[in-house]
């Protein structure tokens, strides 16, 4: 899996961090998404797909 995030679109809702804290983080000043792992292991794939689905700003893209 390869992930990309769009920091301009991100609205800092933080749902991705709750779902996959090893993959996503937030900037301390503005809460904007920080991608920790571009190619996370299999154990994170379901959580990343859910994060992609619930992201309100559609700022997460994953390629299987």
């Amino acid at each position: 899996m390869k992930i990309s995030v769009d920091r301009d679109r991100c609205c800092a809702a933080g749902t991705c961090v709750t779902l996959a804290p090893d993959v996503f983080d937030q900037g301390d000043d503005d809460g904007i998404v920080v991608l920790l792992r571009e190619n996370p292991g299999d154990e994170w794939h379901d959580a990343v797909r859910t994060a992609e689905q619930v992201c309100p700003a559609s700022a997460i893209r994953s390629l299987a």
Binding site: C11, G14, T15, V17, G31, V54, P56
Partner: protein, 402 residues
């Protein structure tokens, strides 16, 4: 003579007697019939009501859909206030919306909110101690549901809690659906004056709180003092009214569903607590007036064309009961995966305080019923006063005993 079919139905609609947790039956009927329907607001305008989940999400994420309340087609349904918008950047579009929003989102990151959890737990425990030591029955709204989020948002913003009667009274007027425009404007002016005064104090003596952070932005020229006061009003209002209603109405819903309450009370399972919060958000829909928007361009959706300039209302309450998204949608099921609900909205305007709201509700729902295992209503359900007239739904009072 005009037939009923020629006249769009009035919106908001009325809930059925005896079904305080369910959306209005007329809205559900409309949802069964069509994904998009015209409705009539109090001012006579006839915007679109978007009834189904998929279309609601698609439109809320569509950049051709605007939150700009200054647009003449915006479906506010009430006479516009002269004093300007009461709720600041939530009624603006990007890029200005994003610029202002990002000034405060840093205070609501998952990490910051997690760091506040012990404080919230202490607040919740202290209020329960007080209730247990005091007389009963007690009004849970007054003794618990309102103080929890008010104490939390006051600490976060740097607002003295001693002023809570003042700001709660004015907040209530501002979100009462049937308040006269003049009454609502007066409530807004009072809060703006209060926050502006506080902003002056934070400019003079900055502390470690969110309002002081905004004061720094004012000093740096990134924000006007009046915009900073507006933001303060938004955060104070949104920070306590919404969560308070979720606590009281959520408790009532659980008391009316004892099998579900037992799950939450008898199992010490953080995952169940988290899913319970999502399910109660989905099921209760305290923001029951819909998400209001206006189209900036012609939009083809579900076989209809929304014309540029037309108002659009996403009825999130019935979206969260859409059977294509949630099996058996009218059943409260704390074990279901409801995370994709639209109770916080969707798109770039989605609630910025949601991590804080979730954490507060997780602490409350995992503590209150365990520490008060015999908690029960001290009145008939039929006598509970519901906020049918509020732009945020809930109960005015909840007499309980144990």
């Amino acid at each position: 003579m005009t037939s009923i079919a020629d006249t769009p139905p009035a919106f908001p609609m009325t809930r059925a007697q005896g079904c305080p947790f369910d959306p209005p039956p007329a809205a559900r009927a409309l949802q069964d019939e069509t994904p998009l329907a015209r409705v009539r607001l109090a001012d006579g305008s006839t915007p679109w009501l978007v009834t189904r989940y998929a279309e609601q999400r698609a439109l809320l994420a569509d950049p051709r859909i605007s939150s700009d309340a200054g647009n003449p087609g915006y479906p506010s349904g009430v006479q516009r206030m002269r004093s300007g918008s009461p709720i600041s950047f939530i009624l603006m579009d990007d890029p200005e919306h994003a610029r202002l929003r990002r000034m405060i989102t840093g205070a609501f990151t998952i990490k910051r909110v997690a760091a506040m959890r012990p404080t919230v737990q202490r607040i919740v425990d202290d209020l329960i101690d007080t209730m247990l030591a005091g007389p009963k029955p007690v009004d849970l709204v007054d003794a618990f549901a309102l103080p929890v989020p008010s104490l939390v948002i006051c600490a976060l913003l740097g607002v003295p809690y001693a002023d809570h009667e003042f700001f709660q009274a004015n907040s209530t007027v501002m979100i009462r659906r049937d308040a006269e425009p003049e009454e609502r404007a007066a409530g807004h002016r009072a809060l703006i004056g209060y926050l502006d005064n506080l902003m002056g104090e934070k400019l003079a003596r900055p502390a470690d709180d969110l309002l002081s952070g905004l004061a720094q932005r004012v000093t740096a020229g990134e924000l006007t003092r009046s915009d900073a006061a507006q933001m303060g009003v938004l955060l104070l209002l949104a920070g306590h009214e919404t969560t308070a209603n979720m606590i009281a109405l959520g408790t009532l819903a659980l008391l009316e569903h004892p099998d579900q309450l037992a799950l939450l009370r008898d199992k010490d399972d953080p995952a169940l607590v988290a899913s319970s919060v999502e399910e109660l958000l989905r099921y209760l829909n305290i923001t029951h007036n819909g998400r209001r928007r206006v189209a900036l361009a012609d939009i083809e959706i579900a076989g209809e064309t929304i014309r540029a300039g037309e108002g659009v209302i996403m009825a999130n309450d019935i979206g969260n009961r859409d059977v294509t998204q949630f099996a058996d949608p009218d059943r409260l099921d704390l074990t279901r995966d409801a995370r994709h609900h639209v109770a916080f909205g969707f798109g770039v305007h989605q609630c910025l305080g949601q991590p804080l709201a979730r954490m507060e509700l997780q602490v409350v729902y995992s503590t209150l019923y365990r520490r008060m295992p015999t908690l029960r209503l001290a009145a008939d359900l039929a006598d509970i006063p519901f906020k049918h007239d509020g732009s945020v739904y809930g109960v005015y009072e909840l007499p309980v005993t144990w």
